[in-house]
Structures are given as C-alpha cells and as structure tokens.
C-alpha cells in the first residue's frame, strides 16, 4: 500500500537504548491475529508498555510524556528475529516515520523501506551523541533530510550522512512501493519465466 511521501523530517526523538530489540518485543505474536492492517500501534511494545493487567508501566519510554516525536532512536541490532512486517506497521501506526540506529536487522530494514518508515543507520559514536543530547534535553530536535541523505542534531549542528540506494530513495520521496515497479514490468517477468522454465 502506498504511504505518505517522505521528505524532510524535523522532529523530537523517542530514545530506546536497549540492544537487540527483536520484533517479538515490538509486536508480540499474540497480536498478529488480525486479517487487516489496522490498529497495530496500540500494541506496539505491548509487554514493555503495559503490565499483565493492562496498566501502563511508568518506566517505559513510550509512557513517559517527556518524550515524543516521529523519530525512534534505537539501540544496536534493532528489529532482529521474526520477519513480521506487523512490527513496522505498529511503528508506523503509532506515528514513527523514521528509526535511527547504529545497526539494523536485515529483514526489518527491508520491511521498513517497503512501507514508508525510513531506517537511518548512523555510526555508534553519533548514536551516543544523540542519546546524550536527548537525555539532556528531551525537546531537542533532529532533522532527517532524505534528499541530502543527512541526519542533523539541530541544537549543535552535528551531522552525519546515511546510505540509501537511489531507487529506494525515489520510492520514499514519492510514496511508491516495489509492487508498482514490478507490475509495470510484468511482461518482462512472464517472458523470463517462460524462457527459464
């Protein structure tokens, strides 16, 4: 499904420094029973966010009103484990458009790019700078410029560039997904299949 176009994103940041956050934490399996892609944001980080009775856990960052924003600043190896795209739906649905980390799991990153959440990989050093800045001032803003492929800590001007291939970049900027591309070359695919098989 198409998603909102991504251009320049200027936002405060929600910090989640835990390492190796797997998709079972982002959205536990028992919430995957839907047959439609709606409402996953409510169960984002369900077991970290709520106790068994469904009461918000005070010490979890999404329950802390100090922090908000469209950018999730995550720890190393974010999104490992299950290939469930529901994890990204939950992030998007909750309101995140961008996840920043020094290391992403593969399938998760792919899934992000397919549904319009921008994964931004930065150096571990810059990640540390950002975590510190947000801790010191939760209102601090970060700017992601997809065209320039830069991420900037606005309070100090510190900046890093990030990688994204030109094809995916155009897709993100236009809100396109891969399936549009594939459907356009369907004849070529059919020819390939006939010759190959």
């Amino acid at each position: 499904m198409a998603y909102d176009k991504f251009n320049i994103l200027k936002s405060t940041v929600v910090p989640l420094s835990s390492e190796n956050v797997d998709t079972d934490q982002i959205i536990p399996a028992r919430f995957l029973k839907a047959t439609e892609r709606e409402g996953f944001g409510d169960n984002l980080f369900r077991d970290w966010r709520y106790d068994v009775e469904g009461n918000p856990k005070k010490d979890f960052v999404l329950n802390d009103p100090t922090y908000s924003g469209k950018i999730l600043l995550a720890g190393k190896n974010f999104g490992s484990g299950s290939s469930r795209e529901h994890a990204v739906w939950a992030l998007y649905d909750y309101g995140f458009r961008c996840v920043v980390s020094s290391f992403f799991a593969d399938i998760f990153k792919n899934n992000c790019l397919n549904i319009g959440v921008l994964p931004v990989t930065i150096s571990p050093e810059f990640a540390e700078v950002l975590f510190k800045a947000v801790e010191e001032n939760p209102k601090t803003e970060v700017e992601i410029d997809i065209d320039q492929q830069t991420i900037t800590l606005l309070s100090t001007g510190q900046q890093e560039s990030f990688d994204i291939n030109s094809y995916k970049k155009e897709n993100m900027k236009n809100g396109f997904d891969d399936i549009d591309y594939l459907l356009n070359i369907k004849d070529e695919i059919i020819t390939f299949t006939e010759q190959k098989v």
Partner: protein, 466 residues
C-alpha cells in the same frame, strides 16, 4: 571463467533485471504461505484489482496459530479461526494448493515443504516467515519476507532484493557423543553473536556438516536467521538426492536423472571468494544451552553464565536486563537449575529424527515430577511415523504429552503458552522475552539435552544421564 559460489550461481540465474542504483528484480520459484502473514497481502492484492500470477508456485498451510488439540473441531479462538478461514477462502479463490488442518500433509510450513519434495536444490524459495532459511539445507536460496513482499510474489512472482554478501562457515572434525546439529548452530551463533551474520548469506561446509542427515542440516540452516543472516545453505549431495528421491513433488524417471545432473553442478567453485569466512572445529563443540534472551547467548551445558567483565554502557545494561528477565546471575553455573517445562517441536527440531532421538533417550525412564513435557510433531507425516515406529508409546510411557502438529509453544500464538516466570527448555529457535508466552523464560537446546532435562527435572548434560 569467473569463480562463483553456490549462492552466486543460484542468485544470478534468478535475476530478471537489475535496477540501476537499486535492487535486483528477483524471481521466486516457490512460495510458501501460512495464515498469519498472508491475509493482508491478499487483501491489498484485491484492493489493487490484481490476481495471483502463478498460483501453482504457491503452497499454503495453517500452522502458526492453530490449536494442537481437537484439530478436527472448529477452532475455539475467534481470531485464530478467522485467520484460518480466511486462508481457506483465499486459497480457494486463487487456486492455491492448501494442506489444511487434519489433511495428510498438514504441518509447519518448513517441515512439509521438504517432506513433500517441493523444496529442491537450486530453487529460490520465500515465505512470510524468517525460518524459511530451513530450506537452504537442500542447496536452495530460501529466506523470509514481509507481507508487502508476499503480495509482490502473488502479483508478479518476483520481489526486489539487493544481493547479500557471502559468508562461508566451515566446520570440520567429528562431533562427540551427545552432540547434535543443534549444538553446532548454537555454538556458531554464540561465537559470532546474534547479529554476526547480518547482511550475509551463509554457506555451511566442512566434514562435520556434510556428514549430517537432511533433518540435521535443516536444523542448522533454520537458525541462520538467529545470527542475523538472510539465510543459510548447504551444497546438495548424495544425502540430499537420496532424501528427495521418490518424494511426491520430486522429479520422476528421466526428469529425475536430468535434475540430479544439474543439481550436481550446484556447488561453490574452487577458488571462489567469500566476503567473510569462519572455521570451527567440530571436536570443540559440546552440548549447548542458552541462558539469555537472544539465541547468541549460549554456553556449554557444563559452562558458566558470563560475567559482566569488559562490558559497559548500554551493552552491559542490556545484558543485565536480559539476565534479570531470566532470573539468573552473572558467573553462575547453568547446570542444576530447576526447570518446569520441556518443549520438543518447531521447524527447528520437530522432525522425525528429533522425536526418535528423544524417544531413544527416555525409553524405560520417566520424566521428573516437576516437569510438564510437550511433544509437538512438525507435521502429520511426522506424527504418523512416530505412531508407526512405536515412539508415541515410549514417550507417553515416559510421561510426555503428544500434541497435534503446528508451531505451538514455539511462538505461543495458540493456547500452548509457558506461564509467566516458568522455565522451559525448548528445541525451538527463539528465546526472546515472552516468545513462549508473556513472562515465560526459554532456554534453547538440542532434543537430546531436552530429553535429559525432562528426566532429571533440571538443566543437565545428556552425557551425564544414563
């Protein structure tokens, strides 16, 4: 001529076109689907007004959320029932082969694919499930995809993928007594970490790998994803061909000879270059178990939980958080810890060989009183064989409870949940927080180690239990 790896050979043969500055349009030979990651893909397909291009290339089965008791009755849980019903409707509407609950080949998608002979060397295989890497054991490129990609495969039989980097892991030497392929993979992941192969496709090689059965090879490839790899594969050989011969979807007669001739070319050329290589000695591997909340946190069953020495910052806090969840302390021995549940099953170790090894171990013994022991066959076929070979009787006499096929407690989407705070030693592949139920504490191990734990009621080395 250019030297190619096995991965290169299969990959390059499936590229329809390369997008400049972008991914490859990658053709998919076989597509497996299940009830959880397919409904939204079907829905979106309909919204676009597009059909399934090659329905004969897709095979379906409900496995993730199905109950493992009373499978002949209506599913009680409303949401699960809806997903399974939706799968039936979608398969019917789009002409997709479905191995439904109760049918002869129902089971976990990664167990039935090989069993039916659908999985073959040289193929590209995807499924909306990360353990699709299992099928790499046949010398196929097989990996998990997201729901958007499931939709792409329906619509165009292709996805857009950037070719992964190449890694080879060679394990030579011989495995000691009580050491299984599950120990090999837990050992490798512990060595290179849960993120150590991210961005890579792994080829496993060496005498400790090639001497394994197909079932044991599948266990290894299955867990490739647990070190971050896109997938893992093993070059096909006589073991592979013997396994496939005569299977329902395997080529027959002349076609078989032709296929085997082709399959024999599917190996890495001498001198082909990998981006990264690891070598391990099979003689160093011992029965393994995990103590933390990712599969990289594994040690010898006879070993000690690492201390925090050398750790700092978020690395240390994440480590302590993980141990806290597990109720363990740094530096402790893992052996002797009390356990509440054992689970034998999943696409990692729910095949007939696994059940045979557990049965052989517990024969004439009984599970400890504090243990609840579940055995969940990976498929109906496995279940049937277990009955025919008398294994079910042995296991039931030992106090194990046999359930019907499905993913079951591997991800606890159905009722098979480990209660909060309880310890389960499981043959599955993930020990994430809450993976086997909210608050559940999972330790991953081989079927043999699990059998030893069942009998003693505590973490034990199978070599110590007679």
């Amino acid at each position: 001529m250019e030297k190619k790896t096995l991965f290169d050979k299969i990959w390059d043969a499936h590229v329809v076109r390369s997008v400049p500055g972008g991914p490859d349009v990658f053709f998919i030979d076989k597509h497996f689907i299940h009830e959880v990651t397919s409904p939204v893909a079907f829905l979106n397909l309909e919204k676009r007004g597009v059909g399934v291009l090659y329905p004969e290339r897709t095979i379906a089965t409900p496995d993730h959320n199905v109950p493992t008791v009373d499978q002949d009755k209506t599913i009680k849980d409303k949401l699960s029932r809806m997903q399974v019903e939706r799968l039936r409707e979608n398969c019917e509407k789009h002409n997709i082969e479905l191995h439904d609950l109760g049918s002869a080949h129902h089971g976990i998608v990664h167990v039935i694919g090989p069993e039916l002979g659908v999985t073959q060397p040289g193929m590209t295989i995807v499924c909306g499930d990360s353990h699709t890497s299992t099928h790499g054991a046949f010398g196929a490129i097989a990996f998990g995809i997201g729901t958007s990609e499931v939709e792409m495969v329906f619509a165009t039989q292709c996805i857009m993928q950037t070719k992964a980097k190449k890694m080879r892991i060679t394990v030579d030497g011989e495995l000691g007594n009580g050491v299984t392929s599950k120990d090999i993979i837990l050992y490798i992941i512990a060595k290179i970490s849960a993120a150590g192969a991210t961005g890579y496709f792994v080829e496993y090689a060496g005498s400790a790998i090639t001497s394994l059965s197909m079932e044991a090879r599948m266990t290894i490839c299955n867990m490739s994803i647990e070190m971050g790899a896109r997938g893992g594969l093993i070059a096909p050989d006589e073991t592979t061909f013997n396994y496939l011969k005569g299977k329902q979807y395997a080529p027959k007669g002349e076609d078989w000879d032709k296929a085997v001739a082709h399959w024999k070319t599917l190996k890495t050329d001498d001198g082909a270059v990998f981006d990264k290589e690891y070598h391990f000695d099979g003689n160093d591997i011992e029965p393994m178990i995990t103590y933390g909340t990712n599969p990289g946190m594994g040690i010898k069953v006879r070993g000690f939980i690492p201390t925090t020495e050398g750790m700092e910052g978020s690395n240390k806090s994440s480590y302590l958080k993980s141990l806290d969840y597990m109720g363990f302390a740094p530096g402790e021995a893992i052996k002797g810890k009390k356990v509440d549940f054992v689970f034998v099953g999943s696409c990692t170790n729910g095949r007939i060989e696994d059940i045979r090894s557990v049965a052989a171990f517990v024969k004439g013994k009984h599970k400890a009183d504090n243990i609840t022991a579940w055995i969940v066959p990976g498929s109906r076929e496995v279940e049937k064989m277990a009955h025919e070979e008398g294994l079910v009787k042995i296991l039931e006499d030992a106090g194990f409870e046999l359930r019907q096929p499905g993913c079951s407690a591997c991800l606890a989407m159905n009722d098979d949940k480990i209660p909060s705070g309880k310890y389960a030693v499981s043959t599955s592949n993930r020990n994430f927080e809450g993976r086997q139920g909210p608050g559940a504490r999972t330790l991953l191990a081989s079927p043999l180690t699990v059998a030893a734990v069942a009998v003693t009621g505590e973490i034990s080395d199978p070599r110590d239990v007679f």
